[in-house]
Symmetry: C2
Subunit: 255 residues, 2 copies
């Protein structure tokens, strides 16, 4: 059944109104008829199976009996904080990270960030990233569209650390013994409450790496430095691998 | 220190001869001088630190005292069997899979493979894939260049199953409870021998998925069907996620 993310304000009690591109898709691509069913998701973790009851130019109306929690959502809340990479790698990270199960992306600028940060282009870029996240979430059958934050400074990023249960920072010089132990400690402490309250931030540096000074500041701010093994990963690979390990350890991938 | 993969036949006792692009890179990009050091790796898991003792047009000679096992190699041997995906996704899978730590790529054709298989273009394509694997292995500081196999038929793929300890096949309809248990059973059984003899093949279907008939045949051939969780992963994402989980569980990522 086709899934659509519909803005929260389009949901009324037992009725949902679909407009714009999605309404076009339902009528002209899926060629839906009255009585057909679609999945409508609010992008915040709730969804329903809805029956189409009215079709008009630009609008589709559907009715549903109840909203339920989306089955495609991880019980653990993982944020990817990614130093702005070169080219279109941020798009890859957002697309793959959304499929795998991240809930929030925080792009940031660090000392060795190579790309020119252009505030004028920022709004357009965030809009594009948000669209990639929405499409990847639909494709992956997720019930939640991950949030895309505005580009943060290093200082702003570190100020977010108190909002999470634990912030891991990838550092290729770190001894490889800690990530799994740290992860198991965080997850087992919370297993009684089914991971509902664990929030993990994974911080990944730019192509040139983070500086020793930045690592020191991150540790002062409460971050835990980790290694992802003896093979040196490209910046866009590190986020996917770290995220996969976190969701595997918490039982979200592979049972 | 810069790393170079050098063909095995260029290694003599304590001396190595570097030619072609690598010799050009050493002289014209790194601007190396006599007495400088480089890392020379044979692409099969052994490497040495070598001192440059002669520079001439197109050739660099270096001496080393002993070859040692590369530290960047996983103790577990993982093969990625990937149904040919659309566009340049196979390149992404080889690049990322090499960084993460796969040792062999087996592209194959299944019932729902969308791309046209062109035997004439095959040699060129395998050459290109091998170059991507070599570059990714150098960049990741690996000591081994993963093997790229010729494109297999479904039947040829299943005939490889007896060569591995276990073959996992990703199937989105499979109940999500098994992958971790199966993986732990395989790895713990072998932990006494430090994983040296474990060989795992991870089979990933094409964009349209594997058919029920193919899954049945794979099971008959001894494969274990697994799920990578409740989020539907694109074909090129599944290999990276599955590989990350295998290397994490075996202690190769995160300690």
């Amino acid at each position: 059944m086709q899934r659509y993310f519909i803005a929260r304000e389009q949901f009324e009690t037992n009725t949902v109104k679909v407009q714009g591109d999605d309404a076009f898709h339902i009528q002209n691509v899926m060629r839906a008829k009255l009585g057909d069913h679609i999945i409508v998701a609010d992008g915040a973790g709730q969804e329903a199976i809805a029956e189409i009851v009215a079709l008009s130019k630009g609008t589709v109306e559907a009715t549903y009996s109840e909203l339920t929690n989306s089955a495609g959502e991880a019980r653990i809340d993982v944020w990817i904080a990614q130093a702005l990479p070169k080219g279109d790698k941020m798009e890859t990270i957002i697309q793959k990270g959304t499929e795998i199960g991240a809930n929030r992306f925080v792009p940031f600028i660090s000392e060795r960030t190579i790309v020119q940060y252009d505030a004028k282009k920022e709004a357009k870029r965030i809009e594009r990233w948000a669209r990639i996240a929405k499409e990847a979430a639909e494709q992956a059958h997720r019930g939640r569209i991950p949030a895309i934050e505005a580009v943060s400074s290093w200082r702003e990023l570190l100020a977010m650390v108190p909002q999470v249960t634990v912030a891991f920072i990838c550092y290729e010089k770190e001894d490889a013994q800690q990530f799994r132990e740290l992860l198991q400690a965080v997850i087992s402490k919370d297993s009684a409450s089914h991971n509902t309250s664990i929030r993990i931030m994974l911080i990944v540096g730019p192509e040139g790496g983070l500086t020793e000074g930045e690592i020191h500041e991150a540790e002062q701010a409460g971050c835990r430095t980790i290694s992802l093994g003896r093979r040196i990963l490209r910046t866009e690979t590190a986020a996917m691998v770290g995220l996969s390990c976190i969701l595997y350890e918490s039982g979200e991938i592979g049972g």
